[in-house]
Symmetry: C2
Subunit: 355 residues, 2 copies
């Protein structure tokens, strides 16, 4: 593994994005979103997506120079036109708007339309939590979850994310999709030649299978429950934003790179002090999480964790020792310099300590 | 099975509640909530709970004559003191407040404190959806979900509920708890002498078991995911309301009936027309649900349903043919007349057609 510091990776992403004519404010939001995901160990949504995004800019799917339009429709609500830019940037613009609305109205909810893939939902919820608010973020995604009692996917593997500020540690952060297992994990099993567990995927005819090579759709958590949660997110993200839903959403990798994805997001901010004194809330949340972590363990070697704990631990490690990249990933990123004719480089972290 | 009409059952509940000195507005909200749950086939949260609630009034847990106190803390937010009355009534008061806030601010969110069991979350979300708003309702519940990697329950089997108005049919309504199976279903398996499926429950030492007699805690959907969802609800319902969380919440049936439960609820209203024209939204939601129901079926005999479909079908049937009660349930309800000295009776629906 090659290790690269977060600062170095951020600068490199920024150089490339700006070199590809992405406006500086947009590039900044995207670079930060990608590096934050990589730093937190959410590699599926991290810097490895940069090559795809640059192709999508070149192909015309992503608008590098968007004109945002924000309509404040009531004191606590608004609609944001993302003008088909990166979801990271449109989502972050919405998060800022939601925070501003909540400052005045107690809560702020923004539906984003004409957007694209926004990376990890936690990026927006954590930004909102920095302001002593509860952050909420969801997005529509293309059809991937097997319909309950059906044979095909209809709803997406839509994320549900909530972050809440906490005393003495980074915010609580739940960021989960509605499938039992991610498609990335299925791909890893394919590469490793290992079977998938029962109950995670189905083949193209909708029959459950443990053969990762034939899994083409994912099974939701709790059967009809996870499918219902996906549909709830579809209502908030696709219908409140006026965007297409489920099977009508162009697929991220399969659709032509000139095609807009027309994703919708739902971003919310809830001001803590509209309900409880901020310090009381943060102290009680810390107390609840500590109490939970101290519960008796099923296996003495396996710590009890709360949502976000694995990401916090990973971020702490990677901040110190760098973000790990395979040689192929590292060279793939470096080769973008030549592909797009940008004068930059990506340096290894020389003092990186491999765990 | 004995069948009783919804109107008759509502009148009977109202007579008993008022006969037990429950204030008329409170009794009306409770009777309607109980009968709506029974009508929609959610029997676990329906009229069969009336004997328990009356005992809780007599025992001093439930305040039959509450003084609500509502603090509007910002244009879109408020806190409601339920004064330890029935959760049905405090929750409905919060739903009305949330709707009023949303009329002005686009959204309205109310945290309820000093409340008690509120029955089915759908009651409040559906009330809000009648006003062309998306309704959201959750509540804290006592510890019942096995902690992921732990051996005991800490978080509750907290419901997540969202209702949205839809053209040409009753609102979409997702109302789900975070466990794979309800405890009521476990009790039914006990009574029937049947084993539980794998992956739904654990014994008092936290070991998974299929013996319904030894199941003492429930497993969450998707392992750590359902556990994370419960924790999310705990933050919204227990911490934003300033109420106790998880293991500190007195249990519904086990705690003395003089003990207040101190539950918290989170009730929200999102005005559709703050985001999209109402008719467009409702038409698109209807279209999406119809498209989903017309998806190819895995088994030709099993229709594809969306959240709330089973309850809609049941409500339609029970509206016509009455709400079914076992002879024991029927006599149990009738015997409350004597127990509390209330002059009333519960008449069978004479034209009830047993399916």
């Amino acid at each position: 593994m090659i290790r690269v510091s977060a600062d170095e990776l951020r600068r490199f992403c920024l150089d490339l994005l700006i070199g590809c004519a992405v406006r500086t404010d947009v590039a900044t939001d995207v670079a930060e979103g990608l590096v934050q995901a990589s730093l937190r160990g959410v590699d599926s949504h991290g810097v490895r997506l940069l090559p795809h995004y640059l192709q999508a800019v070149k192909g015309g799917r992503l608008n590098p120079n968007p004109t945002y339009r924000f309509d404040r429709t009531a004191s606590a609500t608004g609609l944001l036109d993302g003008d088909h830019t990166f979801g990271h940037a449109a989502g972050m613009e919405a998060a800022r708007r939601a925070v501003a609305l909540a400052r005045e109205a107690g809560t702020g909810f923004v539906a984003v339309y004409n957007s694209s893939h926004f990376g990890a939902a936690a990026y927006f919820a954590l930004e909102i939590a920095r302001h002593d608010m509860i952050g909420i973020a969801s997005t529509s995604t293309d059809a991937l979850i097997k319909t309950y009692a059906g044979t095909r996917p209809f709803v997406g593997n839509n994320p549900i994310c909530l972050a809440a500020p906490c005393r003495g540690e980074d915010p609580f952060c739940l960021d989960m999709a509605t499938s039992v297992m991610t498609f990335n994990k299925i791909r890893q099993l394919r590469d490793a030649g290992l079977p998938a567990p029962a109950g995670v995927g189905a083949d193209r005819d909708g029959r459950e299978t443990t053969d990762p090579d034939t899994i083409s759709m994912l099974l939701p958590i709790g059967g009809y429950k996870g499918y219902g949660l996906s549909l709830m997110v579809e209502i908030l993200c696709s219908l409140l934003s006026g965007m297409p839903y489920g099977p009508h959403i162009p697929k991220m990798f399969e659709a032509p790179l000139g095609q807009k994805r027309c994703l919708g997001h739902w971003i919310g901010a809830i001001r803590i002090d509209a309900f409880q004194p901020v310090e009381t809330f943060k102290a009680r949340l810390a107390e609840m999480l500590q109490e939970l972590r101290a519960e008796p363990r099923g296996d003495p070697e396996t710590p009890i964790q709360v949502p976000g704990d694995p990401e916090k631990r990973e971020a702490e490690q990677r901040s110190r020792h760098g973000i790990p990249l395979t040689p192929a990933e590292y060279e793939g990123l470096r080769s973008l310099r030549d592909a797009y004719g940008v004068r930059t480089d990506l340096m290894e972290q020389t003092d990186a300590v491999v765990r």
